[in-house]
Symmetry: C2
Subunit: 337 residues, 2 copies
């Protein structure tokens, strides 16, 4: 039943927004399939379903035209695992090790020296500055060359606790939510602090989100002709940080519309949630709360990764809904491929 | 017949790319309607039709999946009138005059003084630096406020020669081309030197191109809370110039894919054309040549506006096709609304 339903939804999403509402209407006498089978009944699930039905009801007071049904999702900790370390950072560490033979000078230079020695704690002692230095050293070349590097890493790297590739450690309830929204005429965008050139190689395969719907942190690009082909070359300079107040900016640059729904999990998502939910009409803001130490991890106010502190203070007054991974989700991860 | 055809095409475009090819097949015994009725038969029209059929033929050697059928269009001089002065510059001049009472200091300060006096030649004597100063003074406020200013101007401003609003001075053959491409599964993007915040308020209405498919020159944006609403405020700083080598960069930031077709009219479009047509597989690059002094304007190598010089030298060896407005187009402008 579940398999049939997913297949049908995917097909509906492919059909396009304008026709999906009519097509989704259950056949007379047939009970409607649950679009969110991995969600427990409760206020979080109910709020999602109520919102989608309200904005999709033509003639209703909360109706929103399909073109304006923009939903934005943080990636790390909202759509996939981020703890105890962001996946892109793990990629960067591995990439530095792979590039080390071409950079003998790194042997005596921090933070490279510690990364090569496998001492992550020491490497991170340099804080954000050290991390940016590592990212810019690891992420270079033309966009096409870099995409190949990312894809190659994804097929090889394994998470030690869950014994799976990182791109299979996405949250099944959020995958269902993405498909449910698309089947109801929404466009689903990622707006993540991660690098856009790191995410775009896999977002379509992993989430059904094409490259043109991915907003992220950007390095400066230069157009160069590497005869005979014109290519875009990643420069060692961060041009846009897609975090905090940078998220609404990144969204405007790519989309040019204010979203009507936003999903995040950390304080870095609060500006995006605020921008989304302070627009006119019905809005939806939700925060994934990592409170399941058994099936995933439990962390919030004190965590250096995915810190959720102000968000816990503000969500009620802002009208946002907390999603408890422990209580609202029947399963955590999408099935292994 | 034409009206019916356009309506049917629009409907097909709404149905979505994946299904349009099958649906477009003419009924047995019914001659296919001409998708480009304002184009004279000739090499330009033939090249377009051949290209669209080749990339759309499943199983054919040049087949391209609909998601990769990205076409990019310059705006000024390619989709609408740009001569003798870019429409956005005319807007900026009018806006400076409207704002002048709030800026008494402009009375004695160039280039503002000359703009207020209506002496465009003197105002432009300061070159690009003066123009950028005017643009940044004219284009401010939140993105929503600025969109309202643009929309208001569009309803009032009139082109003195053609006695029409500027947003009705679009080229009918290019409007047909946009619809033809979308009906065949293409996404049609604008990539213009104009400001993205200037174009987005009208591109959907005028071209059927939604804001998320508009690439342009960008001012820096800051996210601010103007209680109770979060807004994006345009800053007096150019962040990205979408011209020349900036066009491939702007395309990558928004789309993250290499287009397969590009249309321009000036040397500022050559990098975009080169980036597009040096990718693998079948590609299409075309240049609109303004050679019709009777119905529009004739200008190329010597023109300060829409200069086409290197493009005329390079188009043959690059494999691009020139579109002669005089010979290839039956009509120039779209019907007045």
């Amino acid at each position: 039943m579940t398999t049939t339903w997913i297949t049908r939804r995917r097909w509906l999403a492919a059909l396009g927004a304008a026709f999906s509402l009519a097509a989704c209407a259950p056949m007379p006498g047939t009970p409607a399939a649950d679009p969110l089978p991995s969600w427990n009944e409760g206020p979080a699930k109910q709020r999602i379903v109520d919102f989608v039905e309200a904005v999709g009801t033509e003639g209703g007071k909360d109706y929103v035209a399909p073109a304006e049904r923009i939903a934005v999702f943080d990636n790390d900790g909202t759509l996939w695992l981020e703890y105890p370390m962001y996946t892109q950072v793990l990629f960067v560490f591995d990439r530095i090790k792979a590039l080390a033979p071409q950079h003998p000078e790194w042997k005596d230079k921090e933070p490279f020296k510690s990364v090569i020695a496998g001492d992550i704690r020491a490497a991170m002692a340099g804080g954000e500055k050290a991390l940016i230095e590592l990212v810019l050293a690891a992420q270079a070349g033309s966009t096409g060359e870099f995409a190949a590097v990312v894809n190659d890493w994804m097929t090889k790297a394994q998470n030690p606790r869950f014994k799976r590739g990182y791109d299979s450690l996405t949250y099944q309830p959020m995958q269902e939510l993405l498909r449910y929204l698309r089947a109801n005429g929404f466009s689903t965008y990622i707006s993540s602090g991660g690098s856009v050139e790191f995410m775009r190689p896999f977002t379509e395969r992993v989430y059904g989100i094409p490259p043109e719907q991915v907003v992220g942190t950007r390095q400066k690009l230069l157009y160069e002709v590497k005869d005979p082909q014109g290519v875009l070359v990643m420069q060692p300079q961060i041009e846009h940080v897609n975090d905090g107040a940078g998220k609404p900016v990144g969204i405007e640059v790519l989309i040019g519309r204010r979203p009507i729904a936003a999903f995040g999990n950390s304080d870095g998502d609060l500006a995006m949630l605020q921008y989304t939910t302070t627009g006119p009409g019905l809005r939806l803001g939700m925060i994934v709360h990592h409170d399941d130490a058994v099936r995933e991890h439990a962390y919030d106010r004190e965590s250096p990764v995915g810190k959720l502190d102000k968000g816990l203070d503000q969500y009620r007054s802002a009208g946002w809904t907390l999603i408890s991974m422990k209580n609202d989700w029947k399963t955590i991860f999408a099935p292994a491929p």
